[in-house]
Symmetry: C2
Subunit: 352 residues, 2 copies
């Protein structure tokens, strides 16, 4: 991947907080799409409460009784043994203790950004922001994927709430009026992308369940109507001891190529979160034809190595240029949005 | 609950192993149904390899290349730090280590048993046994629920495999010829029961997802066709500090009563696994009307307190008597099948 010289493209310091008392800590993991000749991004904007003193951790939660939601601030004492503060992304309820559930240290909503050249983006105001509207999204909406089918844009994103992390679906034609279709998969699930074409009449998604017996990996499912999903099949898992040995998940919606469906995915391992590719059969996308031996991109630039969470390249958006090139938009170090170019032919050549 | 004096009804020592080199360690967690005037049970039969010496743990896995499947025996050294042998039900792959996945110490298949009086059961031979036929069930099929709709029996059970624990659906009219419908929900999920009637044209299930952010609790989902599921909603979770504070899951298929759908569920907490009840709205079973304050049954009998895993009453099968009484069939201490009577009116009286 050739990184854009303009990187990073969107930074937290460019975005004012949505309300008093909050600060923007991340503008990352953007979905991407084309509309009216422009490239649109749906950026995950993570905010956390302004902290008060060293003895207290203030954690946020959306109050979804209204829309747009309010923000609750909950004060936790740093010396309270019920909580584990060791991960800066999350405050864990220690097992067996009195803490009722985990908290995230920041909560995310989705914001639109637009570009004529795919590199210089301007962010919309709050009027087109997408917020959770249900307690299942009490801790935010994350990591959207956008798939256009016949002019209808399908947004799949993770909703984090008390009940778990599940995947919700929204549809729109203009990113102003949204239809919300609820949770399409039960928790825990993330990293859902919808194929841009039906297969045998069915919609098809890639998804990423996880659990005690289930290492985070890529599964496929089918639906007649986008709401009810079934025929779940395992496609690919982490490869212990390799660059993608810990966890993997699908990235942006698959791209149709002459050799198969090209899926950009993220894999975490000794180098952090890297990008790779999987090639799926055109007729039966449940069949894996090839998979990257080496990462297509690994964290190397400063903004990929240092940020909110170190050593992360996480791509959930891309735009096809029409001449065999992909513009990848990716979250770098869980903090900024960056971009890069990739030739489809070059990627396919690595999938021999 | 009034325990049957005949308890336990089915014990491992009554069942010969399915093949040489295996021993039956559990005959428990049976689904129940009525067919041709008899009560049928679909019993989970757990077998483990005959162990060899103190330095080795031999763990089993089904080889699903053939049907009925073969059994692989894998020898693990008890001093190998890659494995955690501290739970007698499971051998855990220690995180970050070289062990590729967890193993169960026993693997389960499903066996039919029949009774004219609901108390004395005779077990079928292996010819009607139900085995996994796919690697997703490599470590067995567990905890079936059976729901009859218009003469078609729907079996939902957990399939444990390398990819996780997911829920599979089978249908039959006679428990001899089975149609298999694959995984209806992605991992991790268990404790799925199908309502005995459609709601507004849809099939409805209760299910129990779990994960890092998702405490094991009861959710509801809908389907037009039994294969594709959606509209996932959270119904009820564990109540920290109470008898069902750790985990809960639905039991047998819900019973229609004048006051609502009656759901028998299991909850684990300080007393072990107990039974309780939840009442759901008849028109909108996604609405919880009431829930047991105290357990309907807690482990007390010897066979409930001591067995393979102590202090467990786990009910996934029942039969209605037609005169307002329920016969509950339950797994006791993860070892035997037992039974008891419960008056529907008495249960409803506890759900004020």
């Amino acid at each position: 991947m050739q990184r854009f010289p303009e990187n990073p493209l969107i930074r937290p310091e460019d975005v004012p907080p949505s309300r008093d008392g909050m600060q923007v800590v991340g503008t990352f993991n953007a979905g991407a799409f084309r509309l009216g000749g422009r490239v649109g991004l749906l950026v995950r904007v993570a905010e956390r409460p302004v902290q008060e003193d060293r003895d207290t951790v203030v954690v946020p939660a959306f109050d979804t009784a209204h829309y747009p939601p309010g923000v609750e601030r909950v004060r936790l004492r740093r010396d309270d043994p019920a909580w584990d503060f060791s991960d800066r992304r999350v405050v864990l309820a220690r097992p067996g203790g009195p803490a009722p559930h985990h908290y995230l240290t920041s909560i995310s909503h989705l914001r639109l950004a637009w570009s004529d050249d795919g590199r210089r983006f301007s962010l919309d105001g709050l009027e087109t922001a997408i917020w959770p509207d249900h307690p299942r999204g009490r801790f935010g909406l994350e990591d959207p994927r956008v798939t256009e089918i016949d002019g209808l844009y399908h947004i799949t994103c993770s909703a984090v709430g008390d009940g778990g992390i599940c995947v919700v679906l929204l549809t729109t034609t203009d990113f102003r009026v949204l239809a919300r279709h609820g949770a399409i998969l039960p928790p825990e699930n993330k990293d859902v992308c919808l194929f841009p074409a039906r297969q045998g009449g069915d919609y098809v998604i890639l998804h990423r369940p996880s659990g005690a017996w289930c290492k985070p990996g890529i599964w496929i499912a089918h639906s007649p109507d986008l709401v009810h999903w079934g025929a779940h099949r395992f496609l690919a898992g982490p490869r212990p001891g390799r660059w993608d040995g810990d966890r993997i998940g699908a990235g942006p919606p698959p791209i149709r190529t002459p050799r198969g469906w090209l899926v950009i995915y993220h894999g975490s391992g000794p180098q952090g979160y890297c990008l790779g590719a999987i090639l799926l059969d055109i007729e039966d996308p449940g069949r894996v034809l090839a998979r990257s031996d080496q990462p297509l991109a690994a964290p190397r630039a400063d903004y990929e190595r240092d940020g909110f969470f170190s050593d992360v390249i996480f791509c959930n958006g891309l735009a096809e240029t029409g001449d065999g090139e992909l513009w990848l938009y990716y979250g770098a170090a869980d903090r900024v949005t960056a971009g890069g170019r990739l030739s489809v032919r070059d990627v396919l050549d690595t999938l021999a």
